[in-house]
Amino acid sequence: MNVNQGYQSYKELITIQNELYEEGENELRDSIVSSIYMQAEEIANKVVERDQTKKFYWDKKLDDILTSKYTGFPIMFLILGFVFWLTVTGANYPSAVLANVLFDIEGELTNWFMSVNAPEWIHGMLILGVYRTLAWVVSVMLPPMAIFFPCFTLLEDLGYLPRVAFNLDKLFKKAGAHGKQSLTMSMGFGCNAAGVIACRIIESPRERLIAMLTNNFVPCNGRFPTLIALATIFVGGWVGSQYSIFAASLFVSFLVLIGIGVTLLVSWALSKTLLKGVPSSFTLELPPYRRPQFGRIIYTSMIDRTLFVLSRAVVVAAPAGLVTWILANVMIGNQSILAHGAGFLQPFAHLIGLDGFILMAFILGLPANEIVLPILIMSYMSKGSMIELDSIQAMKELFIANGWTWLTTLNVMLFSLLHYPCATTLWTMKKESGSTKWTLFGAIMPTVIAVVVLLVITQVVRLLGLV
């Protein structure tokens, strides 16, 4: 057919363009662009009529404040802190109620299993394994998500997120990365896998890779509940009850800042070493402020985000609960498989201020960060703790009974913030970069950073005798 003919035409087009280039006709580009702009302006002037008497400067004023060198970052921090404060305060009560209800049901279910003389192991697997994990995931995660996500979507809808991106843009450029990375990073707050996909908006392969590799340093939906829960029960506990919620939300905001800091630092390091290059420029437009659509916000945050994340957590948590229960109850010698694993990890875990069970939980939690905490709780419970887990407070007691100190809590939060991304994110990374090598790097590099940070903190704290 005319395959060759087509190729010939293509060749000839190339020749024409090359000739034009040699003639220097490319200088006409500016002329072409300005012709378009002039005609657009001409038409607009004919059909648009503006009321000159009333000018709308308020949004410009607001932008000046929100993106100012001096007030931009403090305001960002305050808004973030306020959202977390709202989340922690609002989630406390419904979490307790949900936990009560769900664990009452557990009692009923146990009674039923007893009454039909079900074998002990079936009851263990289904109720103590699957159901209990699910109940924890739902009661710990649902209320904070139901508050946090609408707040987050509200900020997005109002147009505040692009201002955040604008504030961070300069920093990313300084780090040798693309300014658009501030946008992909903000997406990562929702879900790191989504953040990695969003990196497509960055054209330069070098900068796209940097953005992908560092996306997981900002906590995602799956990790916020963990961070919030730990901050609530521990950080809150240390400062006296009247300031506890305030301190907890401040602390989570602080963790987010650490995450952003690490993102910038690693981006900078990568662009100076493995991924050398000069950042390319782009213009970031600040979209107008819009009156948010409340119906849509509720819908988006409830259906798209809350239910999506929750159902993902549930889907992963059910089998994970089962596996964990089996690992925790199948004995080899006088110890469970889980305990063997934890025992094996213990020396290393102790070195970085965690314990073997925590490390096991993070490893088993690879499919989804949401289930790390539930797995950990189950591991501790199966060790024979007699605590009835029917409130958030009980979680704290369980952890303390297992030797947690403030250092352990801090380390768990930092590890959660910095460690390898979840399996979904890694898989997405592989798909988007097309490279197994970089995907492996994306898993190992954050883990090494997490371990080093924990090691340094732990050793310093222990040396100073603070715990």
């Binding site: 005319n2 087509g6 006709e25 662009v33 009529e49 692009p162 107008p288 798209d304």
Partner: protein, 264 residues
């Protein structure tokens, strides 16, 4: 590419843009526009889908698509990434340009923000240069009203030579009329006469010089004037796209097969 099967003109949609039509009669409509003009809101309002709308640029990376029915026809709406122009300065701009240029949608809706029409018109004029099946949707009319900005829709229609519809997609205002116009244009019941962009004499002269050769090379597959302009401005991406979309006949047979298995 043989002309055995006329409907195979839609094969490129399937193959290059992964758009599957259930039926030969489905009409493909592209949705273009600057970032943040409520494009996704228009998309959701028309298709009833819930593509996440966020108030920030760069949200739509891929082409999202959805369906709607109007009168007796089924439409496939393709939400292109938001762009300020089609000059292929970025991936988004290239994606949008390639879709309109090579995907040959039955019609293209350009969504604009009534409060900053001037900036938005650049894109409109560029799309009009590519295709005459264009409908302009001036969105966010409610905000323009609040800001006391008046847009003369009829005047704009006259200036541009294409149908113009004022909408407030959030409340659904004007969408019925938009769908009517799309229907008319896509099916060819109404034709447009887009105002041509005029360039400086040196550019125009160059275009004229290149046109005869381009007419011969392009065999009516692309608008020679438009290609001439791209060559003059030295756009490095256009030749790659031409090669990819027009001359990539390695598996042209397979392509026809794919296109011909649509069931009505």
């Amino acid at each position: 590419m043989s002309l055995m099967c006329k409907s195979c003109s839609k094969a490129v949609l399937n193959k290059k843009f992964n758009i599957k039509l259930n039926c030969h009669d489905d009409l493909v409509i592209a949705l273009a526009g600057n970032p943040n003009v409520g494009k996704s809101t228009v998309f959701n309002a028309l298709t009833g889908l819930n593509q996440h709308t966020g108030n920030w640029p760069g949200k739509t990376v891929e082409n999202a698509r959805g369906n709607y029915k109007h009168k007796d026809k089924k439409f496939v709406l393709v939400d292109l990434p938001g762009t300020y122009s089609l000059l292929a300065n970025s991936v988004e701009e290239q994606v949008a340009r390639d879709f309109i240029c090579f995907g040959k949608p039955n019609a293209t809706i350009v969504v604009t923000d009534a409060t900053c029409l001037e900036r938005n018109l650049n894109l409109v004029l560029q799309v009009m240069e590519l295709t005459d099946k264009v409908i302009l949707c001036v969105n966010l009319m409610d905000e323009a009203k609040r800001k006391k900005i008046k847009v003369d829709i009829k005047g704009l229609e006259k200036e541009l030579g294409i149908p113009v519809v004022g909408t407030t997609a959030r409340s659904g205002e004007g969408l019925q009329e938009l769908m009517d116009q799309v229907y008319e244009i896509a099916l060819g019941f109404q034709t447009t006469s887009p105002r041509p962009l005029v360039y400086t004499p040196d550019v125009e002269w160059k275009i004229e010089e290149l046109t005869p050769k381009l007419v011969e090379l392009l065999e009516g597959k692309l608008n020679p004037r438009w290609v001439a302009l791209r060559l003059i401005e030295g756009d490095p991406t256009i030749l790659d796209s031409i090669r990819n979309f027009l001359y990539d006949d390695k598996d042209s047979n397979a392509q026809e097969e794919v296109a011909c298995i649509y069931e009505c």
